[in-house]
């Protein structure tokens, strides 16, 4: 009765053995964790390196960066052990051991995930780097890492050109018209006021424009503008519209003519030019002389490659003749603000002849006879076309950018994007599209082909160059909502640009010629032309007057030049006086200008320094000879104030931050000499006007 069968005892013995063996597996597994593999690898690697510090710094256990106030628990350094070792910076060092490139934030203060994303606490390669069930923000590709800089740094950084570019694109393409974006403020006017559009263009043209706003493109579908960077898109995006929608919208818009323009009655002498055979030729010459191309671009075909030549401050004018009717054009040229109060187009001082010539040139030469070929015969808009057009105008979000009848643009037409960069994959709607389920893929598909993600998308069609797509993606990623980590708040920099609206006579002229469209004044204004905040310290009054009346370029390299405004003497004087008086740099106040005297010997010594010792002619032109990089100094004696030259030679970056003029280590005497020499530089014939001393005594 007592005995236990042998089989049972055997079973017990066997099960005990298996029991203990099986229990042993997990600990064995634990001894071979993935991170230990890299730990040991690093130790072996470090032994073969000359730098002995590697071994002395080696720590066999898990490493982690713990920053409680930022909720950072990053164990990346467990495998990426060399990130603080300068001797491992060489890119031949195998990952994950390579040193981190020098940046302004140390990993011990910020952790890694803050910028690189991925799962900080993880200690396994896949878990740390990829999207997993428990973590939906995989490692950010290096090419997009600037997006992380943007999450805290609201101001533009020199080190993050892509981010800056992306933000510029977002602003330029009026994304803020439909979406809410971080730090992109909504301008007063996004797109032209259409209150009177009917008086400006034909219905056929509207139809065409709505259908295909991109007029000059190369084979890749990108618009290239010579001279300086511009977006690859006209501001007007391509909106998905069906035929009847096109008809309705064009009908509605063409019906908007509340204030018909009265034809301008030209001076008969101007009308007489009608007969002139070279009327348009003269017009073209005038057009060029006035440097309209500074703001407006024209398509030019060179060597089979079509390019836009000119700026993109204003619209591209290649086919404008086929767009606007002549009466409107004339009244516009005479006073743009009358038609568009917000327009940055300067109000030129026209002589009737010039106006007549240029108008003739535009309406006859800048045309494209085939432009409206595809357009069906539309005729007058029917009432129901108009009503449905009005509805479409709202439904398609046109009213987000365009104003009609003074109605304010409707805000938040599209989804709020301020937190897009921080979204999880599960928060994104991929629809049926066959793209990888990642945030990046989503953003880029949405940008390039919105309909593929959501067939009912109202988002218009954009065409990006790879670089711009990358830049915009970066800018969007940078909008990850408010930085979660409290430690980052202190980094936030507001984007402030207080408007600069001087009063008085100068103010009027300033507004009339829209100086701030291109020039910066005390941090406000465009960045197309030089910053004029300190112009009073830099230039002599007389020279300013000359320049304003007849602007010629200073840097031969620049294509863009100051337009010919036909400024009157009175206006020129007002501008020059104001600048010389108030736009002064604390570092170069021209108060003492008058008392400066330079001996010819000094000047001769300066010439020596200029030509032999420092060979400035490498970049600067004097007379015929010299380089194109720096401004032409042939007229320096009339142009620059001695005070400015001295301050400049001492430290250029102090006066104009970011100028490429290298800062040299001149001695005080050398500075004196060089200044003396430069002040003697005057084209023969011209003599020193009293401007300098006047500028000084004021």
């Amino acid at each position: 009765m007592g005995k236990i069968s042998r089989r049972l005892r055997l079973a017990f013995a066997v099960s005990s053995v298996i029991f203990v063996a099986v229990l042993a597996i997990s600990p064995v597994k634990d001894l071979r964790r993935e991170w230990k593999y890299y730990k040991n690898g690093y130790e072996r690697f470090a032994r073969n390196r000359p730098d002995k510090r590697l071994l002395s710094d080696f720590h066999p256990g898990l490493d982690q960066i713990w920053i409680p106030e930022m909720n950072v628990v990053d164990r990346c350094t467990t495998c990426h052990q060399g990130i603080t070792q300068p001797s491992l910076a060489d890119s031949s060092v195998p990952q994950p051991f390579r040193a981190h490139p020098p940046i302004h934030h140390s990993a011990t203060d910020w952790g890694c995930v803050v910028c690189h994303r991925g799962q900080g606490p993880a200690t396994e390669v896949a878990e740390a780097h990829e999207t997993t069930l428990a973590w939906e923000q995989p490692l950010l590709p290096n090419r997009l890492i600037q997006g992380s800089c943007g999450t805290c740094h609201r101001a533009d950084l020199a080190e993050t050109p892509k981010l800056t570019r992306g933000r510029q694109l977002l602003a330029k393409l009026n994304c803020v018209g439909c979406h809410r974006l971080q730090d992109v403020d909504r301008p007063a006017m996004l797109a032209p006021d259409l209150t009177n559009i009917g008086t400006k263009v034909s219905r056929a043209w509207i139809y065409k424009w709505l259908k295909e706003p991109r007029t000059v493109t190369d084979s890749n579908g990108t618009v290239t503008v010579n001279g300086y960077e511009t977006g690859d898109e006209p501001r007007m995006p391509q909106i998905h519209l069906k035929e009847e929608e096109l008809r309705a919208l064009s009908g509605y818009l063409s019906s908007l003519r509340s204030h018909p323009v009265a034809p301008y009655r030209f001076d008969p002498r101007a009308i007489a030019l009608e007969k002139a055979p070279d009327l348009t030729a003269q017009g073209e010459v005038r057009f060029r002389q006035m440097f309209c191309s500074t703001c407006h671009s024209l398509a030019v075909t060179r060597a089979g490659e079509t390019k836009l030549i000119g700026g993109d401050i204003g619209p591209e004018l290649t086919k404008v003749g086929s767009k606007v009717n002549r009466d409107w054009l004339v009244s516009w040229l005479r006073n743009p603000q009358e038609y568009l109060p917000h327009s940055t187009m300067p109000r030129y001082e026209w002589s009737d002849q010039d106006l007549f010539k240029v108008a003739a040139y535009i309406t006859t030469k800048l045309v494209d006879s085939d432009l409206l070929n595809g357009v069906p015969n539309l005729g007058e808009a029917t009432p129901d076309e108009i009503t449905s057009g009005r509805n479409l105008f709202l439904a398609k979000g046109c009213a987000s950018c365009h104003i009609v009848g003074g109605a304010a643009p409707q805000k938040d037409f599209g989804p709020d994007l301020t937190a897009l960069g921080g979204k999880n994959v599960s928060q994104l709607e991929f629809g049926q599209s066959k793209i990888p389920r990642t945030l990046i893929a989503y953003i880029q598909t949405k940008l390039t082909d919105p309909v593929s993600v959501n067939p009912a998308a109202r988002m218009p069609q954009y065409h990006w160059s790879p670089d711009d797509l990358e830049a915009v993606t970066i800018a969007l990623i940078s909008m990850a909502g408010t930085p979660s980590a409290s430690g980052m708040e202190r980094l936030k920099i507001p984007r402030a640009s207080p408007e600069f609206h001087p009063a008085g006579a100068f103010g009027e002229v300033y507004e009339r010629y829209q100086c701030s469209a291109c020039h910066k004044f005390n941090g406000y204004g465009g960045d197309l032309a030089p910053d004029l905040s300190y112009e009073g310290s830099r230039a002599q009054r007389a020279w300013l007057v000359d320049f304003l009346k007849n602007p010629q370029t200073l840097r031969p390299m620049l294509v863009l030049r100051m337009p010919q405004f036909n400024v009157t003497d009175k206006e020129a004087a007002i501008l020059a006086d104001y600048m010389t008086m108030t736009l002064q740099s604390p570092l170069a106040n021209t108060a003492g200008e008058g008392h400066m005297r330079f001996t010819p010997q000094l000047a001769a010594m300066g010439k020596q320094l200029y030509e032999v010792k420092y060979q400035c002619q490498a970049c600067h032109t004097i007379g015929g000879a010299g380089g194109y990089v720096g401004p032409n100094l042939s007229n320096a004696g009339n142009w620059l104030t001695a005070t400015w030259v001295q301050a400049w030679l001492k430290n250029p970056q102090a006066l104009v931050p970011g100028t490429i003029e290298p800062r040299r280590s001149f001695t005080a005497d050398e500075i004196q000499a060089l200044t003396a020499y430069l002040m003697t530089l005057r084209p023969s014939g011209k003599k020193a006007s009293a401007g300098a001393s006047q500028g000084g005594t004021r």
């Binding site: 007592g2 997990s26 634990d30 982690q64 606490p121 200690t123």
Partner: protein
């Protein structure tokens, strides 16, 4: 006569005063000492001294009751170990689970054991009940033990459910949210009950803490108590019900 080293070691161990002071009996070789072994031992005395040979046969019980109990033991052990690395706070709880997964030696293993055993226990409890039912184990004189069993079943469900929230991840949070929303369907008191269960109107810090205390203290204690009663009643009600076919050769 035992001559193996292990046996000899055992013999010499048994000879010591300490051993004798613990087990007041010789080696369990005679029926008397064996009976002593059972009712002289707090843990064994829940069992009868003698059992029907038929009821030992696997087909009779599939050891479902035992297995359920053993799972409870496993859960207690792993659970206690896990508690050493767990803070019932938001969101610390979640981070603790990450740490168990990534840095604590064998942490993930323990958690897997706990989770698996928990699911398994729910299964075996149900299975046990159905099996007992089909064998008519609920019939007199076993009525009360059956009721105890049903209560234990509910306890098991509650234990598992309260434990479900503790990881504080999406799975946990929404499972509990969905579950507790059912409660509020109760007429009149529903909302109130849910409010009490969660210590608030939504699953939050309070809910986590309550579930934690229930999961780690209250429910286990009650369960231990009832399990004891359950075992004890088995022998008091005259052992397991045996059927003729159990003997089936």
């Amino acid at each position: 006569m035992p001559t193996g080293a292990a046996d000899r070691a055992l013999e010499s161990l048994r000879a010591t005063r300490v051993w004798k002071s613990v087990f007041r009996r010789g080696p369990a070789l005679t029926n008397r000492t064996r009976s002593l072994a059972v009712f002289g031992n707090l843990f064994l005395h829940f069992l009868p001294v003698k059992v029907r040979e038929k009821s030992l046969r696997v087909r009779a019980t599939y050891y479902l009751g035992s297995i359920t109990f053993l799972l409870f033991v496993v859960l207690s052990v792993t659970g206690v170990l896990l508690m050493f690395y767990y803070h019932p706070a938001v969101p610390q709880a979640y981070r603790d689970l990450k740490d168990l997964r990534f840095v604590v030696s064998n942490g993930v293993f323990l958690r897997n054991l706990h989770r698996l055993a928990a699911h398994l226990m729910v299964v075996t409890v149900f299975w046990h009940m159905f099996h007992v039912f089909y064998r008519g184990g609920y019939k007199p004189p076993h009525e009360f033990n059956w009721v105890v069993g049903v209560v234990l079943l509910l306890l098991t469900l509650f234990l598992s459910y309260t434990g479900y929230l503790l990881p504080w991840d999406q799975l946990a949070f929404w499972a509990i949210t969905v579950g507790t929303n059912i409660i509020s369907a109760m007429p009149v008191i529903g909302g109130r009950v849910r409010y009490l269960a969660l210590g608030g109107n939504q699953v939050g810090e309070n809910a986590l803490l309550r579930f934690y205390v229930l999961h780690c203290v209250v429910l286990p204690l009650v369960a231990v108590l009832l399990i004891a009663v359950h075992f004890w009643r088995v022998q008091k009600d005259g052992g397991l019900t045996v059927k003729e076919e159990d003997g089936g050769k």
